[in-house]
Symmetry: C2
Subunit: 480 residues, 2 copies
């Protein structure tokens, strides 16, 4: 019989600019397939799903910001996982308020709820080993402990915080009491800690009962409790999302769970985890986690390395070939609209690329070529002085707003699936290989009434083809 | 009063795989804008045009292979130069047969014709200095000399052949008699030659009267003369091109003008040229000729270098941002469909990239994203399993073939200019923001009857959207 169910709490904050160009503000790294075929978010959700290794995972509770809510549902749908709830943070306030909101939400059903809180942008290749670690942690919950997970270091890493244990973990990997948190060390300190055996990397993954973490908040971060309760109690349901009330949320302190609670709590146990783990904090980490070959080379499907060493070559498009010749210690990541080439030792400076592009006004700094919307996504295929061509993909059952334009006419050609198209008073179905003309000024809408994605080519012509030439009359996503 | 006119003979052979991805078999480097806004071919044609510095250039005689004939006319038209004749070589046979054909063609009008033979893929930034060198060479023609141009070396280059002079050139830069040709040297030899002062780089640029070079062929390479005469006399005029007859052309020896004639001719003078010159034989040469800044960095418009040294960063598209961080001695060239990242010392190995891509069957090895055709060009914007979207640009007055397809229907939307469209028995004008539907199997044609380029978006749908699903009924370019 499986034990009491565990509710995963997936945190989807974080912008990951150090993984530009694949990770951008408009589409951060947790939603990108950095390692393997699935995105990091999908892999995180799958790792904490189903029944296996004596565990019984409930539907996940997801915390996301408003911009990415539809990406969350789309990516979960694609791997067949139904979220229990998706809580929308009015603004990011770091992990403490988010986790407290999740705990209060779960406690409303059952204060004994067991929550496993995990960032959604980490790589943990061995799911079975991780689930076994979770199972070891359950024992400590009975005594009201808050459990965190510590990764056994395999190198003197200076980029992570550490957890100092009261004693060396034994071979069973049973929870050990925490002595204290240790900030990111310098190299010498990191080397000492590596040999000591009582220091583990702080992975930011937690296991606790809802009532215990709420109690810890009440003791150590009392100022957060009432405002978060208020935002939750006034939350509004919107298309299946639970939108936390902006007031008083936006007044909350921006603070991590470590600072707010964990560093002060006496009842902290650490479960040692000896398998591979990475927070993918840079392209050097992606290179390391991708399994370099004997000469240290990692290449993606459409990348070719000739006489290279310690080099990462990635093409993020099947229409893009990347070739490296005679490279050493280089990482190159190519997309259709942006290419990064950097020395491997400068992985932490990739955010400078983003800053430089922002300074010159290049959209690639923050905007992804595919623009995700509530109803699906679109990408611009070509822009001329008086025309633009887009590919538009609409999810089954989804609908764009009823809209009109002052400066452009549009030709729509359906190339996959079936659209229901409204043009002024006329509504009709348009299927593969059929087209519709939308004269300038007409009031129109595109919907996908079918069961498969609808793909449409839109050809715009007119004196101005910017996104902001739009008048919205009705919108199921409340954007009018 | 300008002197007797000089007919430029522009050689457009050469595939330039060492400049991949910008230079590919389907679109070699001479037709690409490698330095500055114009292509190398356009810059070469412009350098040898008009009346200036006491010279009077006649319309150029261009030698090209069949695949590039329309690129030649398109690029000359764009800079307002009318070619005197475009000779099409049935197959490339190196420079000797091509130059002989040009000389015979010119001699038919006037055996005294002065010809200036130049490759079309060299960089010579100072046009005035070059024209002055040409003017100095004219004096030597009176005595029946063949004149070649020698570049004063500024480094011990091992990648070029040298011309050894009988004496040091004087300050006037007057022609000096050639002692002999010197093959590409090793480093030590190159350093000795650099200090000697009597060795110049062999640039492969020639000046002679038609009758003198023909006479030299008759003396030193007699076997070529009759076959080339025969190919020329049986040449066919085709849309303004002069197509040399394949028989006996294809039987000709593949031999350079240096081997066939110049190394044997006693009447060779060399005009020293002291200004900058490059044959752009690799990306390192492009880097050098692009004027590196104080830290050795060259960046194109959409490229950004952060803490780089001795590095070339090029974006070949206005929709593509390239960023380099902490690079030393690296060259990176990014296009929408291919990216090269290489150590600067490996410039000569870029052809290995082409070989590697050929081996894996990637079209980027040889095919350019823009596909140039007699009537204009097209590019694929997106390809799905059952659809494809293309941008098609048709030159004024040009016409595609009358054709049909077995597996696809097409939607055409004109976004710039006006098209005349034939669909079975119907012919009509279609202008900006109008569309036409072409059902599967219909016989159709697209023409541009207007005075400006016509741009059309083609949306294809069907079970197969390959280029080879085409039946051609009539084609003004004789492709049926």
């Amino acid at each position: 019989m499986p034990s009491k169910s565990i509710t995963p709490v997936l945190l989807c904050g974080g912008s990951g600019t150090r993984l530009w160009p694949l990770s951008r503000k408009s589409y951060p790294k947790q939603f990108a397939p950095l390692i393997g075929q699935e995105t990091l978010f999908q892999a995180s959700a799958r790792r904490l799903s189903g029944q296996a290794n004596g565990l019984n995972f409930a539907a996940p509770l997801v915390l996301a910001n408003s911009d990415f809510r539809f990406i969350v549902t789309e990516q979960l749908m694609a791997i067949g996982i139904d979220p229990g709830a998706i809580l929308i943070e009015p603004e990011g306030r770091n992990t403490a308020p988010a986790i407290l909101a999740a705990a209060l939400h779960a406690a409303a059903d059952d204060p004994e709820s067991i929550l496993l809180v995990a960032p959604s942008d980490h790589v943990i290749p061995d799911t079975e080993a991780f689930q076994a670690a979770v199972a070891r942690g359950l024992a400590a919950l009975e005594q009201g402990d808050l459990v965190t997970f510590g990764i056994t270091p395999d190198r003197p890493e200076t980029g992570y915080g550490y957890l100092e244990l009261t004693e060396k973990p034994d071979a069973s990997g049973a929870p050990v009491k925490l002595a204290r948190f240790v900030e990111k060390p310098d190299k010498a300190r990191a080397e000492n800690m590596l040999t000591a055996g009582t220091y583990l990397w702080n992975a930011g993954i937690f296991l606790f009962r809802a009532k215990d973490i709420i109690s810890a908040f009440e003791t150590h971060a009392a100022a957060l409790v009432e405002p978060v309760k208020a935002s939750l109690s006034q939350a509004q349901t919107d298309l299946g999302f639970l939108r936390l009330a902006p007031e008083p949320w936006v007044e909350l302190e921006d603070i991590s769970i470590d600072y707010a609670v964990m560093e002060k709590a006496p009842n902290l146990s650490v479960v040692p985890f000896t398998s591979a783990w990475s927070d993918l904090g840079g392209w050097d980490a992606v290179w390391r986690e991708s399994g370099p070959d004997g000469t240290g080379v990692v290449t993606s499907e459409h990348a070719t390395a000739i006489d290279c060493e310690n080099t990462l070559l990635r093409s993020e498009s099947e229409d893009l070939e990347v070739v490296g010749i005679g490279l050493q210690n280089i990482m190159a990541v190519a997309m259709e609209d942006a290419v990064l080439v950097a020395n491997m030792d400068r992985a932490q400076d990739v955010k400078k690329a983003v800053e430089a592009l922002k300074a010159k006004g290049a959209s690639q700094a923050t905007a992804f070529p595919k623009d995700h919307r509530p109803w699906g996504w679109f990408e611009s295929l070509v822009v001329g002085s008086r025309f633009q061509v887009k590919r538009i993909v609409v999810h089954p059952g989804a609908s764009l707003s009823l809209q009109s334009h002052f400066h452009r006419s549009e030709h729509w050609i359906v190339v996959e699936g079936t659209a229901r198209v409204t043009v002024d008073d006329d509504v009709k179905l348009v299927t593969e290989n059929e087209s519709v003309y939308l004269p300038l000024g007409c009031v129109h809408r595109m919907e996908n009434p079918g069961k498969m994605p609808m793909v449409l080519i839109e050809v715009q012509t007119g004196a101005y083809v910017g996104e902001d030439d739009i008048v919205r009359y009705e919108d199921v996503y409340a954007r009018t």
